[in-house]
Amino acid sequence: MNGHDAPPTVGLSTGPATSLAYHTGTWRTERPVYVDLAPPCSLGCPSGEDIRGWLGSVQEGEPGLEKAWRRLVAANPLPAVMGRICYHPCQTACNRAEVDEEVGINAVERFLGDTAIERGWALPVPAASSGRRVLVVGSGPAGLSAAYHLHQRGHEVVIREAAAEPGGMLRYGIPAYRLPRDVLAAEIRRIEDTGVRIECGAPVTDLRAAEAEFHAVVLTMGAGVAHHVDIPAGAASHMVDAIDVLRDVAEGNAPLVGRRVAVYGGGNTAMDAARTARRLGASDAVVVYRRTREQMPAHPTELEEAVGEGVRVQWLSTIAAVEGPHLTIERMELDEEGRPHGTGEFEELDADTVMLAVGQDADLTLLEGAADISVEGGVVQVDPATLMTGREGVFAAGDVSPGSRTATYAIGRGARAAAAVDAYLASRVLPAEPVEREATASRLNSWYYSDAPKQHRSALEAARRVTGFEEVLSGLDTEHAVFEARRCMSCGSCFECDNCFGMCPDDAITKLGPGMRYEIDYDYCKGCGICAAECPCGAIDMIPEVR
């Protein structure tokens, strides 16, 4: 070719951003995808709270608080209660511990619970009724949770409680210095306000009659009967069940326990009993426990606080005999499998009162004669998925059924039972609980999280605790609660930090705006993986590109 068929040029130039014509996405061998993984806190929460979610709302400050509370009570209707007494396995699981300290989830939960009570936030009231009636037997955490969730699903719910006041172990097993009664009352009242009826002083004694009256029954009687061990004891000996002491105190009938108190057992009830004894005037409260500290079932913070209040623990010891104020203590030793055995060595211990806290059993008199409802190991056996007992339409949850005997577990099982009853009433199959991928600490890029120490709840001085039953731990104010919430790393879920958007060398990520997150433009994304590597919370996976 040699013709003048094109205009002469003075040099090459081109328009801006004409590179859009070239799609670099074809280079990709791996593609980034946004994922939402389950955070360890939620996976560890027996109540099934969306902790990351409600912390996320708290992070927004004042405007997000009510939204946060509503996300919280979607699972647990007792946040002010649980914010005080929960052993917070969520915090034990929290990935933030790898950066500095775990997030004080429990404190924020309590803050939300208290704020809700203070501001009078109401639980949602279901609009329409299903016309189905459900009886819940017992008003402990499992019963309250089951009732609440069942009513939220539109069923008419009645709780029948044998005791004079609702709350079960929350009221009678947990001392007021850990859970003020007005807080418990407020949260129970709020459930009642949604339309759940609680009948107190109304023990259920006839299961068949109940079944005739209701479309379904949920057994949540708890385990409020003290377990007994055989200890040779003289007539003058003052031996009581720790659970009874706690109940008496809760009912305002503080017993006389003397100056020296021995508590036998190593669980949380033992700790509560010992600390209560101190508050009842015992100058010397000794916990006698047959194993070691490592094996102790009591929560470490409970032990810590008890010791802080002057409670002593006598490890590897059993009470062999009680004769008046004189206790014979046998020293124990552990065998290779960690089981304690007597050594034959004895010592003396003086105690005006011996409190037994060696476990609690369920009161199953209601089930006498119900052959189709099997009981093993002192608890009602249920289908692990549906929580239904051997009898159709009769479910069980909480301490009366197998599993961890904690309030948080009870709340979670109560909710699960509600879902199961709901499915049963609708003749639906209850979907299995989904298996979720965990957002492990190794997925996180902790560099992006600034160091910030947990805002410690300022504990009252230990000396002051033992003088009465004021609440031991003070709550957070809004500023601190928001701060603490903002320590949440949002493990496995995008919190819109803009890292992927800002750090894409190929300008291939679109920011969709508040709450909408981002979109990857696969026409241009080369799959370098920087977005995934620099995502603080591990919310981006790189997966092989399939063409």
Partner: protein
């Protein structure tokens, strides 16, 4: 107004009156007087609205000019010799990007051996840089060519070198008449760049071109260059009309007897010996040849004002079929001959003309009228070799005195 001026001053003043926006240069002999004068004018305010930038090298001088031109300013620089080679990469680049920079080349030899005096080897080394190359025969033309250069370069989007012989012109004083600022303002259109960095209409200038588009890019630039001869001729014509004197053009004709520049002069005859030359040697030839005419030697003179684009057609027309063509060449292709000779030979390919190359005046060697006359006589007699070196001394260069550098023991 006629005035007595050094060539460099004349060029500097004319350039200033062309109102460049940016002048950037690095000093090198024999260009220094031009840039000194411009820097002074920039300080005194005589050079209004212009940034004068002192840089650390010719490479940066051309680079600053590139930036300035691309940003929308009429840009000017000047250099010579080593300096031109030092900026060579950017020189090519300016042309490739179509930036109409004007540069004075005060022609000077290229080392080694280092030599500050005049010949054309510097500009010739960059003859294919994509620039217009206009050669001044005298200082009046040197000054005037800058006006034409700005006009043609800017119309074409092709940068232009105005070549003037170092020292011979730059440092020589003549009676000159410079175009006034008002005249130039009336003559030269305002700077309207084709390629410009504009924040309101952003473009990317200076992209990479792969094998799929490089050939076409060059082809299209070639087409543009083909337009250049006509544009230069037109602006030279306009200049003559506006100023009443000759400057520029393509092939310059001279009257047969007076040897005065004469655009109406007839083409040479077949029997004429035609001397072809560029630059100040044309003045020497104008002085030397009338005597030969009077002797009866049928000699004619043709000058080249434009070397790039090479005006092959205009040259052939001026030569008119002359059988003997002698090129006085101020630059040498080692092992081949004069550089200009090569272009003349290519222009005359297929004709019956015999082209002889006389390499003259390298590194400032004076070109004597007598020597030129001798060449023409011998050409007329058919005795001129195809390649000769004017006034070549026998015995080569002096040998250092043996032992002169020995250390005394």
């Amino acid at each position: 107004m006629r005035e007595v001026l050094e060539g460099s001053q004349a060029v500097a003043r004319t350039v200033a009156r062309c109102r460049p926006g940016v002048v950037c240069a690095y000093p090198i002999s024999p260009q220094t007087h031009i840039v000194e004068a411009l820097s002074a004018m920039a300080r005194t305010g005589e050079l209004e609205g212009c940034e004068y930038v002192n840089v650390e090298s010719e490479f940066s001088a051309m680079s600053v000019s590139i930036g300035a031109s691309a940003a929308g300013s009429r840009a000017y620089t000047a250099t010579a010799s080593q300096g031109l080679l030092y900026m060579a990469e950017a020189v090519f680049n300016a042309a490739g990007m179509g930036l109409p920079i004007v540069m004075t080349v005060a022609n000077r030899a290229i080392g080694a051996p280092i030599n500050i005096w005049n010949d054309h080897s510097d500009a010739m080394a960059l003859r294919d840089a994509g620039w217009l190359q206009l050669y001044a025969a005298d200082n009046q033309e040197a000054a005037d060519l800058h006006v034409i250069a700005f006009a043609a370069a800017e119309e074409l989007g092709i940068p232009a070198m105005v070549c003037m012989d170092g020292f011979v012109l730059t440092h020589a004083t003549d009676v000159l008449e410079l175009a006034t600022a008002a005249e130039i303002d009336a003559f030269l259109p305002p700077y309207a760049p084709a390629q410009v960095l504009d924040i309101d209409h952003p473009t990317t200038i200076g992209t990479m071109a792969g094998p799929e588009s490089f050939t076409e890019t060059k082809y299209l630039q070639h087409l543009r260059f083909l337009d250049a001869a006509g544009v230069i001729e037109a602006w030279s014509e306009r200049f003559r009309e506006a100023f009443g004197r000759e400057a520029g053009g393509l092939a310059v004709r001279y009257a047969p007897d007076t040897l005065d520049r004469d655009r109406e002069a007839p083409p040479a005859d077949a029997g004429d010996v035609v001397v072809v030359a560029m630059g100040s040697v044309l003045g020497t030839l104008q002085a030397a040849l009338p005597a030969l005419r009077r002797e009866g030697v049928p000699v004619r003179l043709v000058g080249l004002s434009s070397f790039r684009p090479f005006p092959a057609t205009a040259l052939r027309e001026a030569l008119g079929g002359a059988r003997d063509v002698v090129v006085i060449d101020r630059a040498l292709e080692l092992g081949s001959g004069g550089v200009l000779t090569g272009d003349v030979g290519r222009a005359l390919a297929g004709t019956r003309s015999r082209v002889r190359s006389v390499v003259a005046g390298l590194g400032g060697r004076p070109i004597l009228e007598a020597s030129l006359q001798d060449v023409v006589r011998r050409a007329h007699a058919g005795e001129l070799e195809p390649l000769e070196f004017l006034d070549l001394k026998e015995g080569g260069v002096p040998v250092p005195h043996h032992g002169a550098t020995e250390v005394h023991r």
